[in-house]
Amino acid sequence: MATAAASPRTGTEPVLSVRNLAIDYQTRKGDIPAVRDVTFDLRRGETLAIVGESGCGKSTVAFALIGFLGKNGRISGGSVEFLGQDLTGLEEEQLRRIRGNNISMVYQDPTSALNPSLRVGVQLAEILTEHNEECGEKEAYEQCVAMLEHVHMPDPKKMMERYPHQLSGGQRQRVIIAGGLLNRPALLIMDEPTTALDVTIEATVLDLVQEIKEKFNTAVLFITHDLGVVARVADRVAVMYAGEVVEEAPIKELFANPLHPYTRGLLACIPRAGAFKRDTVLQSILGVVPPPNALPTGCAFEPRCPYSEERSRDEHPEFRPLNGSHSVRCHFAEEIAAGTKSLDERKVHIPAAAVAEPGETILEATDLKTYYAQKGRGLFGLGEKSVVKACDDVDFSLRAGQTLGLVGESGSGKSTVAKTILGLEPVTGGHIEFMGLDLKGTVDDRASKTLKLLQMVFQSPDATLNPTMKVGSAIARTVAKLTDTPHKSVRGRVIELLDSVKLGERYYDRLPRQLSGGEKQRVAIARALAGNPNLIVADEPTSALDVSVQAAVLNLLLEIQSENNTAFILITHDLNVVLYLADWIAVMYLGHIVDYGPREAFLKPPHHPYTEALLSAIPLPDPSVEPKKVRLEGTIPSAIDPPKGCVFNTRCPRYIGEICHTDPKIHRLENGQMIACHHDIEYLASIDPVIDFDEVQEPRLLVP
């Protein structure tokens, strides 16, 4: 388009210049300041990431830029200058015109952003014809096909004819990004664009964001909570806390030299690449973000800040540049930078460093199979039934006091394995031997003596507790069912359990809705501990939590493990967390374990090609490390009709040929590692490592 060609390809003139932006929401209880005093600049060809925990006002800023604050939200101060024009005072119609031609937004959920009843081509072409009357249909079609090619959609012409439901999640997000780029916008806003996607897909979308920024010279505003994602895409980072930007710096500078105590807290509580529980601890700052209607008068972070002083309480710190490009909102930035500021250790959660030692083998699964029969497609569900092999020939063992990490994309069968062991799904074949017991059937067939040995911590803090049952009653019921604790002493035992997860008696009579996500997850852990289990299965226990809460929960799990010598099965998609917590790791793909071994074996080759791709896809919270790029095509196939032979053959970047359609060779190495692949082990061992873990920066702890 003519406008795009005429606009400056480079230049230091900012595309977007936000000054002292303040946003209020009107509620029944009066105006609530959601965003206060936000200032930043964004230039062409640059990505600015806004990062912060939930409730910090990140998305509100984005919505203000496009004028979608809703009925009760309004910009109450400051200015938003876009391409030299102040957007704050504009009429709705003028805003719409500017927005349509120059600003695009990509949302978190790719499913709801496309109209399911219109073909992709129609929806894309509409973007061009709607805002530009001169654009003919044929021209629009050609531009759309070209744009789909830019975002690496396979066979763009066919894609134009498809409906959204015929695309995978990653493909949909590409279509949306393509749509966003059609008008060659000066600014592309992305609000958590990869949060709903699997890691391997996320990696390809993040690559795309990098590429289009350079290709189209667009300014990108990238909103995320994930510091790993930030490290991969951003040029500069603005950290938000309680509606304010507290620190802004170029990406490498921020990770190497964080100055605001909140940023330091965020970086200290995430496991760095390759960090291990025996070598590093995760420290986190206590407390949570204050709600916007109860902000402290002085520094918003003061109540939680380990560096705070009298002055922080009364005086609201200014956002000030410290050295050129690094700005920070803290009274004591210079002293913190120099390392001379003393810190109040009571405000930092420092875990006990104890790590459990491995004991005897307590769990052994051999040839474990879990199949689901699908209803037939014929009339009344008759006709040929198809079988979903959710877990097929799975072998592993686990020792007391150790953690087995189960990793894989969604649909790989990791949860099914866990549920089969627990008895929530019936075993179709194979054996599970657990502490001398042969686990068969489902929970309904098992004695309470067996049940109490095996417990689970679930993923979603909101679904893990019955909303109508008091915290104390829920745990008390579990104590009563699983142990012979006399009726009178049940309450005492429940309080003991609440204490052990650092909650205490005052939580006894609370209802789940009166708890925060992290507190709910602690209650769930207390409930799982009620019968003193020997094995706890944790299914993504921290994926719904903010990072600081995640660190506290992970530390709690470690502490429980070292105290009771409990074995854990940890299911997660986050390889950083697995590498930190697990002693053994099993990588699953389509119901099969393709790579299994001690944690150390995963730090260097030989890897299974799928493990290699997963390792390459993890967003490392470390911008100085550049992992080797191994990207997977497409998505995980359906488990109803898995590929013949090696299940990974449809996406394998190291695909050999015909041989891959036969069952793979099983390599068993001396260190206990097992790899299922047709390649020779020598070849797999000779491959370059994905991540050079020696390059990784030492984490900067709050309290050394």
Partner: protein, 357 residues
Amino acid sequence: MAPEKPPRKPPVETAVPPVPGAPAVALPTGVAPSVGLQLPWYKRLWEGTIPLRASRVGMVGFAIVAFWTLVAILGPVLARYDPGDQVVAPIPKGATILDLPGGAFPSTKPYREDNPDTPEDETILGYVLTNSGPTSTAWFGTDDRGRDVYSRLVIGARQVMVIAPLSILIGAVIGILLGLAAGYYGGWIDEILMRILDAIIAFPIIVVLLLIVSSIGASRVTVIAAIAVASIPGVARLARSLTLDLRTRDYVSAARLRGENAMYIMVREIFPNASGPIIIDLTLRVGYAVFAIATLGFLGLGLPPPTPDWGSMVAEGRNFVTTNAWAALFPATAIATLVVGLNLMADGIRQESARYR
């Protein structure tokens, strides 16, 4: 102990309470209000009505329903005549039967000037006031048999206000149990239960009601039974669909992992969390039940005469609607207001609870 900082705001909570022995640092969590933790039952009940009280529409509905409930309770006090009694008016002195309004006939009982102790010889001849409009002797007029519409309406309220909720309650208990079982167990139990209920739904509700009542015979018990049976499929389907969703929740898995039986899980883990939508649905259903009772009464299959029944009052009044519309109008209005009131109440609760959830 290290010197503690004076807390600035009094009720501070610790997000992560410190390890015992460690000095306490108070941190605001910004969540978990400590109010409402251990309130007496009546306060919790009052809190439970927030969704209703927050909605103006809901409160209007509630006022109407409360009015009719009050009428039902106070019925005998409010009524001026016995519902079966005829209203007797004095025949004016010197008037002959020909001077009376058309169709009037002398009462077998003499009219006594408001005082039953009036000596026999001083009584005046009375006549039955039939098909009259509102007068001071009969506020809402009288029907074709000379009975007081006002008194019958007030006494009839009690019938409706007992039968409608009672029949829905019975239907709900059965429907919820069936729905919970069908949704929780799934498989063939679900198939069989749902196909049977589908068979009931396949008939128009009025046909189901008529079939049941006419085959057993009209009585209070049959009316209750018929309405209960007719409401089972709807309640069961709702309970089933809610159960299908709730049984996949992690807390249900957690209950199974501690060895709870199916009955406990259905009653304690699933039902309390499904109760919100079910209560709204039941409120609407009580409205339908009022309508069903009236319809049965109108068709002559309701409560057997001489029980005052709004539906049969409309039916009887309908024959004379051209000469005296009042006798049909008042019971019809009563039915309409009660049904509308229940609907408004359900709507109000639904809107507000959607907002609070």
